[in-house]
Symmetry: C2
């Protein structure tokens, strides 16, 4: 069957789509390709027209012409930590209206695994890359530089020239936790840290510095393990800590799951919170506000980090000059546990 205005193959043309959507063919093309300057409403209109006509663009031909795919690669160190899920959702929300697919890679906190993922994904020439932090292997750094693929770093800030990043000062967050616990009259303080990725260590450095300045830092009390952070681990480490150092009166946790586990273990052990020990968590994960007692925590802007990082990447793709460092800050949320 041949229809007027259709290709000899019987497939509808871009002109048909443009006519139905009441836009110019140029706009229809730009809308389907996800060009920045087309309003999201128009993109939806053109897509709806394309769908109702059964118009299917040939993405392979399009990619061959542009030598780029329509993919943005996002690498995160973990998916089992609730932390990165909100970030990823926000990224997808921003990039989807531009017609960009998000490919998520999880490197399980291993820079070597991150390097491997980068190598595999760069072969497909993504439109952009979003990375977590700055802890890359030298080979990964080199690949990123030579690839020329626009890249934005998330979660940490870094003063290095030319590195685009969206995050907050992990060190200042640790310092804030220490100041809060000191303000509560606590003196036997410890940082309970798992995973020991660079951001966990930066928070620890900020915490330690404030304790040292106050003359109360005791290296004997610090708990550091490479194990993955979890509720189970938090309970276990907390019980051991209080057994070995019964005079500990304040704990800052590198992640809220540890703090939740500690609070539950304290209930089981009859250790009164905050009377005997004050607890301060990090990230303000779901559940912390409902723990017994409700947990004090440092709320991190995970969602905003994803949103701004994706917007920064789009700005780079469009050649719009932007500030390279976006500091979104953090917030100490004081509840019953401290």
């Amino acid at each position: 069957m041949t229809r007027i205005g259709y290709r000899s193959t019987g497939r509808p043309t871009l002109n048909e789509v443009a006519r139905l959507a009441a836009v110019s063919p140029i706009t229809a093309s730009r809308a389907l390709r996800g060009v920045a300057t087309v309003a999201p409403e128009l993109v939806e209109k053109v897509r709806a027209a394309a769908q109702s006509l059964g118009y299917v663009a040939n993405p392979a031909a399009r990619a061959l012409a542009s030598a780029f795919s329509q993919t943005v690669v996002v690498l995160v160190p973990s998916l089992s930590n609730q932390l990165f899920i909100e970030t990823l959702e926000a990224i997808q929300d921003v990039l989807r209206v531009r017609g960009l697919d998000v490919v998520i890679g999880n490197y399980h906190y291993s820079p070597e695994e991150e390097e491997k993922l980068l190598r595999n994904h760069l072969v497909n020439r993504p439109r952009g890359i979003l990375l977590t932090g700055f802890d890359h292997t030298p080979a990964a750094r080199q690949m990123l530089e030579t690839s020329g693929v626009p890249c934005v770093h998330m979660m940490e800030l870094d003063a290095r020239r030319g590195a685009y990043c969206v995050g907050f000062s992990q060190q200042q967050a640790g310092a804030e936790a220490a100041r809060h616990l000191l303000g509560r009259g606590r003196r036997r303080l410890t940082y309970m840290a798992a995973q020991l990725d660079p951001r966990v260590l930066q928070r620890g450095a900020g915490f330690r510095q404030v304790l040292e300045e106050a003359g109360v830092f005791d290296p004997q009390l610090q708990v550091m393990t490479r194990e993955a952070s979890s509720i189970a681990l938090g309970g276990e480490l907390f019980a051991r800590l209080l057994d070995e150092h019964p005079d500990v009166d304040g704990v800052f946790f590198c992640n809220d799951d540890l703090a939740q586990g500690a609070a539950l273990e304290a209930l089981r052990l009859g250790i009164t919170i905050p009377e005997r020990v004050s607890l301060v968590g990090f990230n303000d994960l779901p559940g912390s506000a409902h723990m017994v007692p409700r947990l004090t925590s440092i709320r991190t802007p995970r969602q905003a980090v994803g949103q701004r990082a994706a917007q920064l990447l789009l700005g780079l793709l469009d050649g719009i000059t932007q500030e390279s460092q976006v500091d979104l800050g953090f917030e100490l949320v004081v509840r019953q546990s401290s």
Copy 2:
């Protein structure tokens, strides 16, 4: 600079890669394209050779030739529920060694949003699709059928001919929870359900049927809300339920976050668990084993579902005939709360 064995552009050829990896050019090509019959070890070897030579395949040309991308689209109803994260990780692990990228779409439990995602993604002609459950709009069903893209459904089973699926019987899981609570001598039983997606309703149907057979079903006690499941909601609904129906002696929750919230609220209210009320959760999420008291829950095979669904999809891509229904079962884990 021109090097022997290199293209006139100075870029290395596939033949160079094959020689370095000590395989035939055909195998090198198949390895880089992610063809099934090449062993994962060989794929890694060829990729390493390609990388060390700086060989970059032209994926656009490849895609034009095959008329298919190297992408598998996975649609899940939620990313904020820990439930689907393990599933997605397992899927990525299986597909990555085949050189397939996973694109994740989140439709926030809205079949209309799922339809929209399908429409957008099918334009790019993915290699395969993994869907959650069978609750699709008629338009989505039609797109799936006419697209010819291989599709596997996860989490639910369905006897419909030709629908490939990997999951377990949600209804039997609900029935198991009811039998367990009845076995504990509980008679004033309720199902506390949020979200009300099809799988939540199937679990409720199984729960109800067993209570009806035992002659103890009381519709007055059932708690059903379309709100999203969360720890906060669990605490709130549980407090209200016990206030209105102080004689309730057993609750089955559609998801563990509700059960965790209820257990924490019970602590605050001085309601003894399980003496006064038995609690049974669903999914056995992280934390449930460490709650006060430790929660009884039905453990679901999220990771295995992802793994088997991805393997089933690969089997379809390779034209290997496979069983269309994979029932992975579930497990009641009895702890202190019941």
